[in-house]
């Protein structure tokens, strides 16, 4: 049986891996298509502010509440509360309740946040791979002095606390890179954050690929290819690269999960995308404050849905991505028997 057939057959036979694959696919589809579809059905998007759902005097409404679909208030009463909306105002449903003091739809923001978070996470992993693949290939296949240089660079970066580098770099980052974006599809700051995460985590794929090539370099098929006169580039491209695919896939699933958590961390430090852009990190950090000013628990103002839904979204994605990576590792290894 061809190796790919075998892998697919193994994944289909493994309940946990198949389940996590389905969950990951669902999360991706929901994040990218869920927001626009939900906006169309419910009649408001993730940026619409609904004063009747939450305002300065009123705590945000909870999940499954129906509020007047007005994005302006009908004036204040003397008591400080909002005047009732005009008769015949259409109502709208907030599935996960409202967020913060401005009353946006938490449901659509969690979906949109998933899109932004995944863009950052997947983008970061791709950039790390773009940097790591050539560096790792140089280190592992060419060897010699170039390998020594690559190894020293990765060693030094690895010994340094990554988060500190990220904080420092994101503060110093040029405003032009921050401004890259395409409206809703790619909010401002996503490219910058993916770039930061990608560059500073690229040492990991570099080391993996280098280690893998180190072993493969000695294999008979490489020797055979070199013997029949294949150039180094050709050997690398058509003989060695296919062998790296399993390693890269297994790494990528974990890297996306890790990047999701990194994005949350950057949001909490205040070094992420703009606060108004929904990401899973910004949803959590608007509720709980940044690292510099953590909010304290207050039973009167406690709005658990603002914590629960993003947290559950993160947990489900990260757990299933990790599980998927583990399953892929077993399925792609030709030597595992089950």
């Amino acid at each position: 049986m061809a190796p790919w057939r075998l892998t697919i057959a193994r994944i289909r036979n493994d309940r946990w891996t198949m389940g996590s694959l389905i969950v990951v696919a669902t999360v991706i589809v929901l994040s990218f298509a869920g927001g626009p579809i939900a906006s169309r059905i419910l009649g408001h998007n993730g940026y619409d502010q609904l004063p009747y759902a939450a305002n300065i005097t009123q705590k945000p409404v909870g999940p499954l509440s129906v509020v007047p679909a007005l994005n302006y208030s009908a004036g204040m009463l003397a008591s400080g509360e909002l005047a009732p909306p005009p008769k015949g105002t259409p109502k709208t449903l907030l599935v996960f309740g409202a967020d913060g003091p401005v009353g946006r739809d938490e449901f659509i923001r969690v979906l949109d946040g998933g899109k932004t978070s995944l863009e950052i996470a997947i983008g970061g992993a791709l950039i790390a791979l773009l940097i790591g693949l050539p560096l790792g290939a140089v280190g592992g296949y060419v060897g010699g002095i170039s390998d020594a240089i690559v190894s020293r660079i990765t060693d030094t970066i690895m010994a340094f606390p990554l988060m500190l580098f990220l904080v420092f770099a994101s503060v110093q980052l040029d405003a032009h890179i921050r401004g890259i974006g395409i409206s809703w599809w790619l909010p401002d700051g996503v490219v910058a954050e993916a770039l930061l995460i990608g560059v500073f985590t690229s040492f990991y794929p570099t080391r993996l690929i280098r280690a893998q090539l180190f072993q493969l370099r000695e294999a008979e098929f490489v020797e055979a290819a070199e013997m029949v006169g294949a150039s180094r580039w050709r050997t690398l491209r058509s003989h060695l690269l296919p062998h790296l695919v399993p390693t890269i896939l297994v790494w990528a699933a974990v890297a996306v999960a890790t990047n999701i958590l990194l994005e949350i961390g950057l949001s909490f430090i205040g070094a992420g995308v703009q606060v108004s852009t929904a990401t899973w990190g910004s949803l959590l950090s608007t509720t709980w404050g940044t690292l510099f000013q953590p909010q304290t628990y207050n039973s009167q103002q406690f709005t658990p849905w603002q914590t629960i839904f993003p947290t559950v979204a993160v947990l489900v994605s990260v757990v299933s991505l990790n599980q998927l990576s583990e399953g892929l590792r077993q399925a792609l290894d030709p030597f595992t028997r089950r």
Binding site: M158, A257, G265
Partner: protein, 354 residues
């Protein structure tokens, strides 16, 4: 010279070189970033003239050649002296601030104590929880209770440290009022109500718990696998045949086999743990190194470079010293490893959080 000793000497030299490389890199990076040191000397002057900048640089002693400053800095580091901060005391409008900065070493020592309390205590709690849980799950592989333990432990590792800290704090302090709100109590400072080991421990209980939850999954899983692999072996059967109790078999014959793996994990996770400290310290209001480093670095206008360099130095030193301690323990526990290097294991999912 024995092999073990030679190995240790090699590790010490490598560690020193790593720290030196780190200091050099940070020195270069930070001098390459645009700052206005003179702002610290003249905090109340609206626009700095060339004279202000020149005079300010002179007061801060940074108008000397960079190589002189570098050598000066490195020689002072060996005496655990980080010099003075650029930030000065209070100044009246129009006046220049005092000519002395704050000595960094004192503050740093206090912060180091906080972070080490958190790290070491947290590690102890992780081990106290993961050894029984791992042994429990490992002796019943495949059952419902095994799956439950693994799943619950996994939730900790897959959530973010900041979120977990806040949730733990809201539950145990906000709702149940079991513990103090946070903050740090030194082992001895003479202040009533915040002094001595009891206050120290109660104030750190929640941070330790958070820390433990974050790292539990890795260790539980590792001990579980090790126990499951060891239980069917012949020497375990022999021990049982001699009449040893279940507890004795587990503690004396099975669990020691997991020791090296756990040690490897601890060595690899020191850097990660410091990254986690950033969030745990911030959420519980602990004045520790990691969160101070982030605070010091995230200022966009004026970076207090001496303070940042000192923090970076101490943090990378903790990683290097921790790794060295683990390697030494290795060489003591299993001298064969001193020759071949330590066994490799995968990195955790939390690895990227730092």
């Amino acid at each position: 010279m024995s092999d073990t000793l030679r190995f240790l000497v090699r590790r010490v030299v490598a560690g020193l070189l790593t720290v030196l490389a780190m200091v050099t890199v940070t020195f270069v990076i930070f001098w390459a970033t645009p700052t206005q040191p003179a702002r610290f000397v003249y905090p109340s002057v609206q626009t700095l003239t060339a004279w202000h900048i020149q005079h300010g640089d002179h007061i801060l002693r940074i108008d000397r050649p960079k190589t002189d400053q570098y050598l000066d800095y490195v020689t002072h580091l060996f005496r655990w002296d980080f010099g003075d901060s650029w930030a000065r005391g209070f100044a009246l409008p129009g006046e220049s601030a005092g000519s002395k900065g704050f000595p960094i070493t004192e503050q740093l020592d206090a912060q180091l104590r906080v972070t080490l309390s958190l790290l070491l205590g947290g590690a102890a709690v992780v081990l106290l929880l993961s050894v029984p849980l791992g042994a429990f799950a490992g002796s019943r592989v495949g059952t419902i209770s095994d799956r439950t333990v693994s799943l619950v432990a996994l939730i900790g590792v897959c959530s973010h440290p900041m979120v977990l800290s806040i949730l733990v704090r809201s539950l145990f302090h906000g709702r149940l009022h079991w513990t103090p709100p946070g903050g740090y109590c030194p082992l001895s400072n003479g202040r009533p109500g915040c002094d001595g080991p009891a206050d120290w421990a109660t104030h750190l209980a929640l941070p330790w718990l958070t820390f433990a939850l974050l790292f539990l999954a890795l260790y539980v899983r590792m001990i579980r696998v090790s126990v499951a692999e060891t239980l069917p072996q012949d020497f375990v059967r022999t021990a049982r045949a001699k009449g040893a109790s279940n507890l004795r078999v587990m503690a004396r014959h099975v669990l020691p086999n997991a020791g090296l793996r756990v040690l490897t994990m601890i060595g690899m996770e020191i850097g990660t743990a410091l990254g986690v400290c950033i969030y745990v310290e911030a959420a519980f209001g602990l004045p520790g190194l990691a969160s101070r480093a982030v605070f010091a670095m995230s200022g966009s206008t004026n970076l207090d470079l001496p303070v940042i360099m000192a923090l970076v130095f101490v943090i990378s030193t903790i990683v290097v010293v921790g790794n060295f301690a683990v390697d030494t323990l290795y060489a003591v526990l299993d001298p064969r490893l001193a020759l071949g290097g330590r066994p490799r294991t995968g990195k955790s999912a939390a690895g990227g959080v730092i």
